[in-house]
Symmetry: C3
Subunit: 354 residues, 3 copies
């Protein structure tokens, strides 16, 4: 293992901004307020953890001006401690790059073009006509189909699969087991059986996208499926054919997006949200975890729809009424009408109980 | 890349039926009404896109008799334009077949039987006693366990895994990263820990089935898990042990089916539907996206159960009442009783507010 | 295929306890009451299948004292027939072990340490500094990252991926396509784009854990993600960074757990349950299938929250009221007030209909 870098606080401030308070100590790693030691730098992003500063043993802390009074040790003061921490961590934990070259166990088609400084790991396969850009890393066992193009500095993790003809931009990260470009779910019913519709579009992944482990993105039926610049997809996500995911949109794990749906820029989706097909979601929409989006969303904002959890017995008592909510609403309407018209109270009202 | 086929409209009609209107032009690819050019044939399946015909630049269009008046160019008139389009696309986009043979980097057990015209791609492994049928394609990195049998013309995409002893029919397509035959979730509690129950059944996949990327189908605990002829499973689906999926049943992405559930023929399941274990679903049932099937379905039809999405603030206001819906229903019942018996109105009713 | 073992009932009783009734027959395999033949031993765990005993052709049956009167053949009587069956099956179906050694097609880094009796299958890769313990089996195509440690008797199935630095205990089973240690979903927003936060924690999987096919467990952001001893995870589960899953906790397929959530011991989670991030769930909590856990659970018990399925038309009629449940509750409150105060009935009540 190569030794990791060490930075003095003054060096961090020189590169990243912020203001140094106290001694100009050196730090070699980031850590949490709870566990960081003297060689580490911690951060306070959420005021609710402020009391942890009193027991903190970190060599330095990144915090906001509002919290600086609670910490007597070395500090970097900045308006956004979380972002600052992210950048410090990136400096202290640079991506480890294997030596460039093609492992002898890899199988690279004769017509593939591989940049001289790319890394092709053990047991990788690269199909005919593929183009692997500068400094790309193909980790062990990943499968690059024919005519695939991968831009500079992208990383494909072990056993990920990219089907033929797909386009991957620069600085893209695709995690292990992800599958890019499998056939979309395109079927026509012939009266007796399903007939397969060839899926002749591609998947186009623009620059700076990250795709999580075991996420699947289907190729387009006719046109392309597109993941726009800067979008971030977590693990186990399913993106159907001809979906467009907008720029800088982020999706948490287990989200599903059905075919032909268009999602705007700067959206966020909580875990296991499900979006039906053939709808549009505008920019800056936040969909909370577990929500099924059953129609287009035309206005920015936060949307939710999930059933609140209860102790099982209470849920049984309450949920059964959902099957008759229309009847219940009708009974309330009827009561209101009777109150309003002065019909009630009378002793003989057989129609009010369903 | 081999050149793709080109067909005149008259040739398409000769093979597929339908009626030619206008010039007998040649087409080399399918496309959408919006983007198809002069060498492409588009289709109009959904009347709501009919106005797109006015700007369409396609060389020809597949449409129904009802729409033919809106299109002055070459056309094929048919009663089911979508199915016709599927068949035209299949003609224009035949599956690309690599040359038969075993790639030198593949590892094929000595006792495996591989048809002479099968294709075993780079870095594939095939276990002892496996039988690989005529014209089967095993794409790079897929894993075929011992004693597995794969029928004629099936395709196993990159890095898919088939555990030992499973049976795959003819013309089956299994997409990348799918896992067929892993152990079912069979555990017995011993009072202190879970003990594993050996999963000794197989997975049997009948002819003409398609399995999506990263879909997992567990082997049976004692008897087999069975996917019947013509069933189509999209990506990221989980099928538990001893499930039976009926003929020509189609499941969209992210569906889960728990163990021992039996699903009939000609059913459809929307995305991320969840079906609990040990139940039965009859033929011709449609389950909508996001629905949890918590008991057997004994009658054909369409079934739904998901919580409607709202702006977050509205959801908060509304959903909280679900925890007390039984109480609310009780209050309505009480109001009705009072109205009916003439108890009300009186000024002192402490029991009506929970 | 090696021949499977055969046991007389008396030998089973000598090893596993229970009481032999009737002839001391020999059995070679387990089976269901419905399908077992004379060489097989079946079991009756659930009294509701008791009537199947009358047609059962099994050589012997494992059952409880309460059911023994219904079966005239050879039997083993025990207080927990299901657990007994699990143990008999384990005896009759021992794990098949390939001969130890490293397949010539595997790529094992020079600095990796591999126990002499471990098995490294075809086309496996093992990174620098990895330590592979005694009797470990690495099935074809699995990827072991640098510095990974795998304890004795663990099995890693085909094409599973373990990222660098992770720790896998003893007797752990990881199924095909699982991904252990991919980056957590750690991002900081810089006002214009997401910046990646290095994920420098590990995944630590303790002894006796089983991980299902295509399940993904992300490495920690700063500290580790931990799966404690004896936990069992089914297929297609997503575990976010810094999650802790307690001892002997079992999760069914498609469950998602968002980052930093701590789950206690002896919990169970039904299929596709979703747990949000940064919460705590105490020991001995059962979460039913399809339930979204949106806040900490501080008391042991069973919790549920899913929308009951209905025929689609009924659901449409009922679910629409959910968007206005707060208004409905307000109307009931208003009715109650009017009844209580004697305002009603009057003819002019414009405010009672929203």
């Amino acid at each position: 293992m190569p030794s990791r870098p060490i930075f003095r606080l003054s060096e961090l401030v020189a590169r990243l901004g912020g203001e140094l308070r106290g001694a100009d100590v050196a730090v070699g790693q980031v850590g949490t307020l709870e566990r960081a030691g003297p060689e580490q730098i911690a951060f306070l992003a959420n005021p609710k953890y402020r009391r942890q500063l009193s027991d903190c043993r970190a060599g330095a802390v990144i915090l906001s001006a509002a919290a600086v009074a609670d910490w007597s040790g070395p500090a970097i003061v900045t308006s956004d401690p979380y972002l600052y921490f992210a950048r410090v961590s990136a400096l202290l934990n640079p991506v480890v790059r294997p030596a460039p070259g093609i492992d002898p166990s890899a199988v690279v088609a004769a017509s593939a073009e591989v940049a001289a400084d790319a890394y092709i790991g053990p047991l990788v396969s690269v199909g005919e006509g593929a183009r692997i850009g500068p400094r790309v890393m193909l980790q062990p066992g990943c499968r690059i189909g024919a005519e695939v193009e991968i831009g500079a500095d992208s990383v494909i993790h072990p056993n990920a699969v990219i089907y033929p003809d797909c386009r991957i931009g620069a600085r893209v990260i695709i995690h292990a087991g992800a599958v890019i470009g499998a056939d979309g779910f395109g079927l026509a019913w012939n009266g007796a059986a399903w007939e397969k519709i060839p899926q002749i579009g591609r998947v186009v992944i623009e620059d700076d996208v990250e795709i999580g482990a075991s996420t699947t993105i289907d190729r387009g039926a006719l046109d392309d499926t597109v993941i726009r610049q800067g979008a971030k997809l977590d693990n186990q996500i399913q993106i159907g054919h001809n979906v467009v995911v907008g720029r800088h949109t982020a999706m948490a794990g287990c989200v599903g997006v059905a075919g032909s749906t268009k999602i705007g820029d700067y959206c966020t989706f909580g875990g296991s949200a499900m979006i039906i097909g053939h709808i549009e979601i505008v920019d800056r929409v936040n969909v909370m975890a577990g929500t099924l989006v059953g129609k287009s969303i035309k206005q920015a904002g936060t949307y939710t729809g999930w059933y609140p959890m209860q102790p099982h017995r209470d849920w049984l008592a309450n949920a059964s009424h959902l099957r008759h909510l229309d009847t219940l609403a009708g009974r309330v309407r009827q009561l209101e009408r009777k109150m309003a018209t002065g019909e009630a109270p009378v002793a003989d009202e057989g129609d009010s109980t369903p």
